[in-house]
């Protein structure tokens, strides 16, 4: 409106009046003068919003995913009673690591290292009740390049490409990609849903993040189905959703709950 008023003060001749009328019409369209109602969601508008995702969030290449993994995914060694096990973990926005319950339970000590060999100091480990999730607190200052991963709120669609980041068999950090099969129920974790992927996982991948091609976390790897070799993932909503599982201190060596 201010623009139109300013233009009107510029001149009084006929050509200027015509010019003002044209500009006013364009301004009304350009700056929402005609309507302030929100866009009604429709299939077309949803499609346009989905297309915008390609503009706003870039799909990552394999190298990009590996780079993302280096900055956010760590190796966890559980020095337990008479046994040693290795898994993966990743840094969440609350600056705590996320992993599986079975990666940290029965611990005497936990060792956390980055892909390039920095040892991080662990202060505390907690596990979820009724879910294979653990949270690890510590001092990450030794690895100042460690940055948290962002999580995805929407459900994964079957056929969508999903990557798993972690340390298979306790070896070098790697990225493995596959396809989302869909949601299902694991009797041991019911009534909570789990997500199944064709992505190949091995012991050591437990606790690692499953991410979409935009690098957003969709879940936490916890197992592999022996019959189909499909990887099983706990949806991220079970960790950060509206109804996450309650947590308690990780059971130490000699007390695996």
């Amino acid at each position: 409106m201010g623009l139109i008023a300013t233009m009107r003060r510029r001149g009084r001749n006929r050509s200027t009046a015509v010019l003002i009328a044209i500009i006013a019409g364009v301004t009304a369209v350009a700056c929402g003068v005609g309507s302030t109602e929100p866009v009604v969601a429709s299939d077309d508008s949803e499609m346009r919003v989905s297309t915008t995702a390609d503009v706003v969030a870039t799909r990552l290449s394999a190298d990009d995913l590996l780079d993302r993994a280096r900055r956010s995914v760590v190796r966890v060694r559980n020095n337990g009673c008479g046994q040693l096990s290795v898994g993966s973990a990743w840094l969440a926005q609350d600056r705590r690591l996320v992993s599986n319950r079975h990666v940290v339970e029965g611990l005497r000590t936990l060792d956390v290292t980055t892909w390039d060999g920095y040892d991080l100091s662990v202060e505390d480990a907690q596990v979820a009740v009724g879910a294979d999730i653990s949270r690890i607190d510590g001092d990450w200052s030794a690895a100042d390049q460690l940055i948290p991963l962002n999580i995805r709120r929407s459900r994964v669609e079957p056929g969508e490409r999903i990557a798993i980041l972690g340390y298979p068999e306790g070896n070098e950090l790697s990225v493995s990609t596959g396809i989302a099969v869909g949601y299902a129920f694991d009797p041991e974790l019911a009534p909570r849903e789990i997500l199944k992927l064709t992505t190949v996982v091995k012991p050591g991948n437990s606790g690692g993040p499953a991410v979409d091609m935009n690098g957003l976390v969709v879940g936490v790897v916890y197992a592999k189905e022996l019959d189909t070799s499909e990887s099983l993932v706990i949806p991220i909503d079970d960790v950060f959703g509206e109804d996450p599982a309650p947590i308690e201190p990780a059971p130490p060596c000699g007390d695996t709950g």
């Binding site: 500009i23 302030t36 989905s50 297309t51 060694r77 390039d116 929407s154």
Partner: protein, 301 residues
């Protein structure tokens, strides 16, 4: 008209997650640009620019609050983004869009001035000397014809002078143009040489960069390998330490078991059967613990 709007911080809604991500907005040279506004969204939010000419609409989604406005910016391609912007930036952006629309809508203005003349201006006619008849000469019968002749001669002389002046002027201009052309040629050659030199430098730098990137890539691979070696060795060391600890624990418990058994035997030999019974109970417990410790140690072997 202002072409640049200083960069401001704002937010951009991710259509996949609905999350509002911190970004930097900027307008410059007829383009709207967005880039990550925080380290943790680098890689999530790319640097994107849109031509203002492609913006088809800006709609306010929520009333402005705390100096910020939530808007939806639509593009001619059908895409849209939802942005949270300072109100000042939004207003300046709308002004830019309106100005851009005015530029395309305004009919071509008639020139304010006529094109500058390129032809040389003819110098003012110079009076030709010697064509005036003496004032005291008597007039004669043939005077009208003589006057015409004088006018013709006068005209021819004037024309000659004009042509002479024009020739001189054109000669001078031609000479100046020649000098300018030579100077321009020299400047062009200099620039061409400079461009060639800079192009070579760019190519050299690109080659060095590629080499450095290869070295970095090799180093990165080596770092990963060494870190993995370190992790594997630490695994083995920790496992050995745990086995050692279990071995020592088993040995200690076996020692305790032996001592308890010896104590029990001692009571039996001394005919202290009640004491022997108590000692035996403790010996059984100690020896059970020793068995478990030995089993745990053996499991690590």
């Amino acid at each position: 008209m202002q072409n640049t709007i200083a960069a401001v911080g704002g937010h951009l809604q991710s259509p996949r997650s609905g999350e509002w991500l911190p970004v930097i907005y900027e307008v410059s040279g007829g383009y709207l640009g967005v880039r990550p506004g925080a380290q943790d969204v680098v890689g999530v939010v790319p640097e994107v620019i849109w031509a203002l000419a492609d913006v088809s609409g800006v709609t306010e989604l929520a009333p402005a609050a705390d100096g910020r406005s939530t808007v939806e910016i639509r593009f001619a391609s059908g895409n849209l983004i939802r942005a949270s912007l300072p109100v000042d930036f939004r207003d300046q952006l709308c002004a830019q869009l309106a100005a851009a629309a005015a530029t395309t809508q305004t009919p071509a203005a008639s020139p304010a001035f006529a094109p500058p003349a390129t032809a040389p201006v003819a110098p003012a006619a110079v009076p030709v000397a010697g064509t005036l008849a003496p004032a005291d000469e008597p007039s004669v019968a043939g005077e009208p014809r003589g006057q015409g002749l004088r006018l013709a001669v006068f005209g021819l002389a004037a024309l000659s002078l004009v042509l002479l002046a024009a020739t001189g002027f054109l000669w001078q201009r031609s000479s100046q143009q020649q000098d300018r052309a030579v100077a321009a040629e020299e400047a062009l050659q200099e620039r061409t040489s400079e461009v060639a030199s800079l192009t070579r430098k760019v190519e050299q730098t690109e080659a060095q960069l590629a080499e450095a990137q290869t070295e970095v890539g090799d180093l990165t691979t080596r770092i990963s390998e060494l870190s993995n070696e370190k992790a594997q060795v630490q695994d083995e060391r920790n496992a050995a330490q745990e086995a050692n600890r279990l071995g020592l624990d088993a040995a200690s418990k076996m020692e305790e078991c032996r001592n308890r058994l010896a104590s029990t035997l001692s009571y039996v030999l001394d005919d202290l059967y009640i004491a022997a019974g108590d000692a035996l109970d403790e010996a059984v417990i100690a020896c059970d613990e020793a068995d478990e410790a030995v089993a745990a140690f053996v499991a690590t072997q």
